[in-house]
Symmetry: C2
Subunit: 237 residues, 2 copies
């Protein structure tokens, strides 16, 4: 039996012990949904960077850069953070540099974990299947919003951890897991209305960027499992 | 209209802005339930201290000291952390020093807030009534467990914030509020079984200290509103 835990914010990651575990990074609106879309459409590798300065340095070196803060594309960047931008024509075979508001510090997260994978509703079944096969403890890290708890990430954490526990080979002693499973149970059949409770939905709407929400809550458009390898995000395998 | 927010862990308090707000500190199992019990039974004032060292210094000065770590009474202390210890006979008119595992750093919390009050299920209606009367923004701070999210604190946060919003004079844009309200809606009529999901229930049971749980989830045994004043916890008024 393996354990599954959920951490509700990158600010809380330090009170968890990722050693020997697979960490599933989750940022439904929108980073991990964007990463899964890029990878589904053939991106070669993604270089995750934390600061605007790093993103700018890569731009100066000639890289294609995706960068947003507070939902909006940064001036110098090639792309903002909508998954719809990253079609096969645009990203196939390319290397992209990626920096977002709640962008997880990949170095910090990856340092002690056994492996870091990227989860979204878009690759839900692929992630669950992969985690079940590994026979390792799992820690789902919700990116949150500027350190705060986010409903959308908790819902995905609940969907994933619930599936793992239902399989009978995972158990939990983690309150965040039990709460997430309950929230997902309430939301899953009523997402059209439940989404109104999500603050990020309203932030994106204000910016005219909420057209992506239905897409980001779509289950299983892809079977890719993006994984952190030598500080790059690449397809598994 | 005033806002209500919920912060799920003392480790996340720094990403909230308590300025001008009433902060409701919540630690259902067991600190804020104990404090409400003490005050209901006539304690004069409580000196909250963060470290074991501080608690020991007070003991050396002759104060009555309540101190636990990981659920268990510390050797030098007069009392552990069970609310049943603090009868009228024991505490009436007394000053107590209080230090617990997840004991909130009262200085840090009180520094910028307009006021800090202590919430439990035991004084639920009194807290809600008081908050409605103040016409100020409210931030409910869940103590959590060693920085992690706790279901029991989220349930009380949901009960309080739900009542405030139902009254029509509070609103929220906070995902933690909406999630807490949903969790309380699931749990409230099934607490006897729901309590099994709570990690702290199992920690206390292991220590033989779970006899307090039913009591700590009892609504309205008292109408006291404990409040932080000059770094002491005293009854409101």
């Amino acid at each position: 039996m393996n354990t599954v835990e959920v951490c509700f914010s990158t600010e809380l990651f330090k009170v968890y012990d990722p050693k020997g575990k697979i960490v599933v990074v989750v940022d439904v609106l929108r980073a991990t949904s964007v990463i899964c879309t890029m990878m589904h459409n053939g991106v070669k590798e993604i270089i995750p960077v934390k600061t605007v300065e790093e993103a700018k340095e890569y731009k100066d070196k000639g890289y294609l850069v995706v960068a947003e803060r507070n939902g909006e594309k940064l001036d110098f960047a090639d792309f903002g953070n909508s998954p719809f931008l990253f079609t096969k024509e645009v990203v196939d075979g390319k290397t992209l540099v990626y920096s977002t508001t709640n962008g997880t510090n990949a170095i910090a997260v990856g340092k002690d974990a056994d492996q870091v994978v990227v989860g979204a509703f878009l690759n839900f079944s692929a992630i669950v299947k992969y985690l079940k096969e590994q026979k390792k403890d799992v820690l789902i890290l919700c990116s949150g919003w500027k350190g705060k708890f986010c409903i959308e990430d908790a819902l995905l954490a609940g969907a994933i951890s619930g599936s793992l526990i239902e399989s009978g080979v995972f158990y939990t002693k983690c309150d965040s897991v039990n709460a997430s499973i309950d929230l997902w149970a309430i939301a899953k059949d009523t997402m059209d209305t439940y989404v109104e409770k999500i603050a990020q939905k309203h932030r994106l709407k204000k910016l005219g960027l909420d057209d992506v929400i239905g897409y980001c809550f779509t289950i299983d458009i892809t079977s890719v499992v993006p994984v952190l390898k030598d500080l790059l995000i690449v397809p598994l395998g």
